[in-house]
């Protein structure tokens, strides 16, 4: 299994993307922002298409769109964030997130048409497909870049972990103590935008969502201590990634992303039975 180059690349990129998703996912779940992460993975697509239609490198559009929309969501989210332990209602900001990302996707359709008419009849959807790799199709350069970005995003999250935790659990007290809660909230969603952009183009939006939500939700159930929870979320995400890759390699016809997500959700389901 490890003698195959595509498998080594998948493991390298997968490990660090899973780590970044797990660690930042712990905060995403804490702050009830899974929908925001999902929305960011969707706007990656129109961003890349806009860049392609304009003739710029797709990554500029990809990262530009997710980081810009991330900043917007962060700004919006300030008024609507409900915090931990709020039983029931979702934040009202979700409505705005839904409206904005649908509009951006509508623009994506427009760019798709522009792109497919300007590139001489080539199917836009086909072009869009090539923008979003599958985890078994990564080159070694792409895999290394994905690993570096994943590692950097994970470290950045750990760097702001302490004030972000304070600001997430008790925003009012944190604000009074001089923690820049507003700035942290915006910065965190922008960081999430970076993770979303890299994960989407390297391994697909499906894996981002699965690895962001499920391992972190399991960690919240299993670990009471925040730092133990963060570590556990990262660990579970990486474990799901490895097990899923191995399973996808061993079973013909089973896409690796399906295996990874199923294992991640299975871990969460098991955690609800235990704790």
């Amino acid at each position: 299994m490890f003698s195959q180059e595509f498998m080594r690349n998948a493991l390298l990129a997968g490990t660090f993307i899973a780590l970044a998703c797990g660690v930042s996912g712990w905060f995403v779940v804490l702050r009830g922002q899974v929908f925001a992460g999902d929305a960011l993975s969707h706007v990656a697509f129109p961003g890349a298409l806009a860049a392609a239609a304009a003739g710029v490198d797709e990554r500029v559009g990809l990262f530009g769109a997710t980081i810009a929309v991330g900043a917007g969501i962060g700004l919006l989210g300030q008024r609507s964030f409900t915090g931990r332990g709020t039983v029931g209602a979702a934040p009202a900001g979700d409505t705005a997130i839904g409206a904005v990302f649908t509009f951006v996707l509508g623009l994506g359709v427009f760019f798709l048409t522009l792109f497919s008419t300007s590139s001489g009849g080539g199917s836009g959807i086909q072009a869009a497909h090539t923008l979003f790799g599958s985890i078994f199709g990564l080159g070694s350069g792409e895999a290394r870049l994905a690993a570096v970005i994943g590692l950097a995003a994970g470290l950045m999250t750990l760097l702001i972990a302490r004030p972000l935790l304070f600001a997430s659990i008790s925003p009012d007290v944190a604000g009074a103590r001089g923690v820049p809660t507003r700035l942290l909230g915006i910065g965190f969603v922008m960081l999430l935008g970076v993770v979303a952009a890299e994960a989407t183009q390297a391994v697909g939006a499906l894996l981002l969502l699965g690895l962001l939500a499920a391992p972190a939700a399991a960690a919240h159930r299993l670990a009471g201590n925040p730092y133990a929870g963060i570590a556990l979320a990262g660990l579970l995400a990486v474990a799901a990634m490895w097990a899923g890759l191995a399973l996808g390699y061993a079973v013909p016809g089973l896409p690796p992303s399906t295996a990874i997500v199923t294992i991640a959700v299975g871990i969460y389901y098991a955690s609800t039975l235990v704790a």
Binding site: D172, A217, T258
Partner: protein, 311 residues
């Protein structure tokens, strides 16, 4: 391209200064009449169910239901039935699953959102598995994602109308208790309203509405009819009846304008429908925001920042 598409290419539609002429030109074609009929039916249904979705703040659930179209279409291709059945089957099943697992047992919103996200990821993973087992290329991916209004058959219009009648009738029966349970679940439960069961039934109805809407707008753009008109209307008025009527009216205007412009344009209808709906949404939100600002400025002085400490 479909035969209807050929018709467009042949006649080369363009706008003139004679609006009555343009209007009659649009209605001359059977496919355009069908598109407007189907669009209107969907606008009414999506508006009414979307209104409750916005009120209940189940935007993420609604979005996850729209993603069910992917495993639905792939699964239908795998077992060789029409994609429409796959859509409706998976959307309804998705509504049941989300309703069953996300609510209740005192789960915090943090965990609910993680559960909904997990359901969505699992469904998409299932879709990838179906595609892989099917081995072929999914046809009409463009249409699945972004919708089409060309070539909507009479049967489709009938099917959509049937689904809409069922969903709206169910909503008419459940409307009052559902409104009560949506506004204050605790008090409603105490008064004997089965809030949790209502929530599950509502998600199933929402699944029907999402599947129907995606036939017109495409999977990715359902919120143009499901979310934005309702969010706009609720920002304008707090009175439920008026707000519901306004939602339907906005939805109809969006569909008619969007399809009408798309007929004369080379760009897809989804782009226009979404843009018009979003323009209305932003306009309403900006007006409400500006008003609340001037009102605040007149009456209430700025609150001190350290409020949380004192409390």
């Amino acid at each position: 391209m479909t035969t209807a598409g050929m018709v467009i290419m042949g006649t080369d539609p363009h706008l003139t200064w004679n609006i009555a002429h343009d209007f009659s030109e649009v209605l001359e074609y059977h496919f355009m009449v069908n598109a407007l009929l189907a669009g209107s039916v969907v606008a009414v249904m999506a508006g009414l169910l979307g209104w409750f979705m916005v009120l209940r703040r189940e935007t993420f659930a609604g979005h996850t239901l729209s993603m069910m179209a992917f495993p639905g279409a792939a699964g239908a291709a795998l077992i060789g039935v029409s994609a429409t059945w796959g859509y409706f089957g998976f959307c309804v099943a998705g509504g049941l699953v989300i309703g069953q697992f996300s609510g209740g047992r005192g789960r915090s919103w943090s965990e609910q959102s993680a559960v909904i996200g997990s359901v969505q990821a699992l469904a998409l993973g299932l879709g990838f598995l179906f595609v892989s087992l099917y081995g072929g290329v999914l046809g009409d991916l463009d249409n699945l994602l972004f919708g089409t209004f060309i070539g909507i058959s009479n049967e489709q219009v009938l099917l959509l109308t049937g689904v809409a009648v069922v969903a709206v009738a169910a909503l008419a029966v459940l409307g009052r208790p559902l409104l009560f349970a949506s506004v204050d679940a605790d008090v409603a439960s105490a008064k004997g309203v089965p809030a949790r069961a209502l929530g599950v039934v509502f998600l199933v109805l929402l699944g029907l509405a999402v599947a129907a809407t995606s036939q017109i707008t495409g999977v990715l753009l359902v919120f143009a009819l499901l979310l934005m008109p309702a969010a706009s209307a609720q920002a304008i008025t707090a009175r439920p009846g008026l707000s519901l009527a306004l939602t339907v009216a906005i939805g109809l205007v969006v569909v008619w304008l969007g399809l009408g412009i798309a007929y004369f344009s080379i760009y897809p209808a989804g782009f226009f429908v979404t843009s018009i709906s979003f323009a209305i949404y932003v306009g309403v939100q900006a007006t409400v925001w500006a008003r609340s600002r001037t009102r605040k400025g007149l009456q209430i002085p700025e609150q001190p920042r350290a409020e949380g400490v004192i409390a």
